[in-house]
C-alpha cells in the first residue's frame, strides 16, 4: 500500500472537508486517508478527480471502502494551475520530492510505503491532518497546495512577509526534515508572528530561530542591553524577553520577561523603547 498526504488549503467558512474522524469543520488543512486505488493508474485517477474538483470549484464526493470523503473547494480567490495535466504532474513531483527530502520522517511514519512511492505507486491515501488550524480569512493562501504540509504550503503562499524572512523560515523549517528531535514550524506560531508583524509593522526584519517544539523566536537586538526577543507559541501567546536602559543612566538596565497576547504587548512593555528597537 502506498500512502501519500494530501493537503488542500482552503478559506475558512468557504471550504469544508468531511471525512472519517472529522465529521464537520470550519478549518483548513485537510484531509483524507483511505487506501483507495490498487494501481498507479487508479491512484492517478483519484488525484485527477480531486484536482478536477479544485479546478472546477465543484464539490467532490468520493466513497471507497466505506469511507465518505467530501471536498468543497475554495469558492473564490483560488488561482488554478494552468492545466489539469500540469497540476497532476506537479502533484506527483511533489510527492516524490517530499519522500526524497524528508527521509527520516517519512521512513518513520510510512517506512515501506514511501519506499514504494519512490519507485512504483500502487495506492493512494488521503489522510486527516490532526493539526487543527483555525486560519483567519485574511491569511488564507490564494492557491490550493497539493501534498505539502500546511506550514510549507503557507510559506509558499503570498503571506506578505519580507522575502528575507520567508527564506529564513523555510531554512528553519527544513531542519526538521532530518532531525527527529526538531519539529517543523508550528502553523499557529507562524500565523502569530505574521499577526505581530502586520499589527506593528517593524521596519527591521528580525533574526529568527526555532525551538525544538517548532515555535518561532524573533529577535530585534541592538546590543546585549537593548533587545527584544519574542517566542511565538502555538496558542497565540508570546513569551517575551526585553532588555533596555532606563533613562540615560549607564548602569540602569531593565530586564523583564513574561508572557502576553500579541495585542497586549504594548501595555505589558515599555512600548516607546520597543518601537525604537523595531524601527531604527
Amino acid at each position: 500500500m502506498t500512502v501519500t498526504t494530501w493537503h488542500v488549503l482552503a478559506q475558512e467558512d468557504r471550504a469544508t472537508t468531511t471525512a472519517r474522524q472529522q465529521p464537520s469543520n470550519r478549518k483548513m488543512g485537510n484531509v483524507a486517508v483511505e487506501p483507495t486505488a490498487s494501481t498507479t493508474a487508479e491512484a492517478m485517477s483519484v488525484a485527477t478527480d480531486i484536482t478536477r474538483s479544485l479546478l472546477s470549484r465543484k464539490p467532490l464526493k468520493w466513497s471507497r471502502q466505506g469511507v465518505q470523503v467530501e471536498i468543497n473547494p475554495p469558492a473564490s480567490n483560488t488561482e488554478a494551475p494552468e492545466t489539469l495535466d500540469s497540476a497532476g504532474q506537479a502533484y506527483w513531483s511533489l510527492s516524490k520530492t517530499l519522500a526524497t527530502h524528508r527521509p527520516t520522517i517519512t521512513k518513520k511514519l510510512f517506512e515501506d510505503i514511501y519506499q514504494e512511492l519512490l519507485s512504483n505507486v500502487s495506492d493512494i491515501s488521503v489522510f486527516i491532518s490532526h493539526q487543527v488550524v483555525n486560519l483567519p480569512v485574511a491569511y488564507a493562501p490564494t492557491m490550493p497546495s497539493y501534498v505539502l504540509p500546511e506550514v510549507e504550503a503557507l510559506l509558499e503562499s503570498p503571506l506578505g512577509l519580507p522575502a528575507k524572512l520567508v527564506s529564513r523560515l523555510k531554512e528553519l523549517n527544513s531542519y526538521s526534515w532530518d532531525d527527529e528531535e526538531q519539529n517543523s514550524i508550528q502553523v499557529q506560531s507562524l500565523l502569530s508572528l505574521k499577526g505581530f508583524l502586520d499589527e506593528y509593522q517593524p521596519a527591521i526584519v528580525p533574526n529568527t530561530t526555532i525551538t525544538l517544539g517548532g515555535h518561532i523566536i524573533a529577535e530585534w537586538r541592538r546590543s546585549k542591553t537593548n533587545l527584544l526577543t519574542l517566542e511565538f507559541l502555538s496558542d497565540g501567546a508570546v513569551k517575551f524577553i526585553f532588555f533596555h536602559r532606563l533613562g540615560q543612566a549607564e548602569q540602569q538596565i531593565n530586564r523583564v520577561s513574561g508572557i502576553a497576547a500579541v495585542h497586549n504587548l504594548p501595555s505589558a512593555l515599555n512600548w516607546a523603547s520597543i518601537s525604537s528597537l523595531l524601527n531604527e
Binding site: Y175, N207, I217, I241, S257
Partner: protein
Amino acid sequence: MNDEYSDLKPSNNLARYVKRGQVTPDGRPAHIAFRPREKEDHISTFCLEMLQGDTVDAQVQDLRVTCPLTRKPKDQFALLNVGVTKQAVEDESPDRRVLEFKHVPMDGLESHCGIFGVRVDDAIIHKIIAEETFGMVSAT
C-alpha cells in the same frame, strides 16, 4: 545534590552544544540554547581544559571527536568562560542569581560539566548566559 560534584575554576571555559536552528543568521546562540531540558537540573556543557590540546582550537577538535551527541552540519558549540558568565548572571539577573558550575563526569565523557541553578522558565538568565558567549565554533 550538587555537592557530590566539584566546582569549576573561574578561568575554565565551557562549550555548549547548540543546534543549528538555535543559531541566529549572524552567528549568535538563541537564549533557548541555554534552557535546561525538562528533566535536567542543569545545563549540560563540556570543559575545554579537560579535553586534549593546549589551545581552544585543539580542545574543540578533541570535543568534536569525543562528543557522543548526534550532530548536523551548521550545529555549533557556544563557548563560555565560567568566571565571566557567573559574574554576569549575578550582576544582571533580577534576583542576583548565583549559578554553580560543576564538573559532572559521565561514563567515557570526563569533560562533561553542568551549570546548576537555572530553571526551564528562567528566560532572563538564559538570555544573559547566551549574551556572554565569547565564540561560536562548528560542532562538526
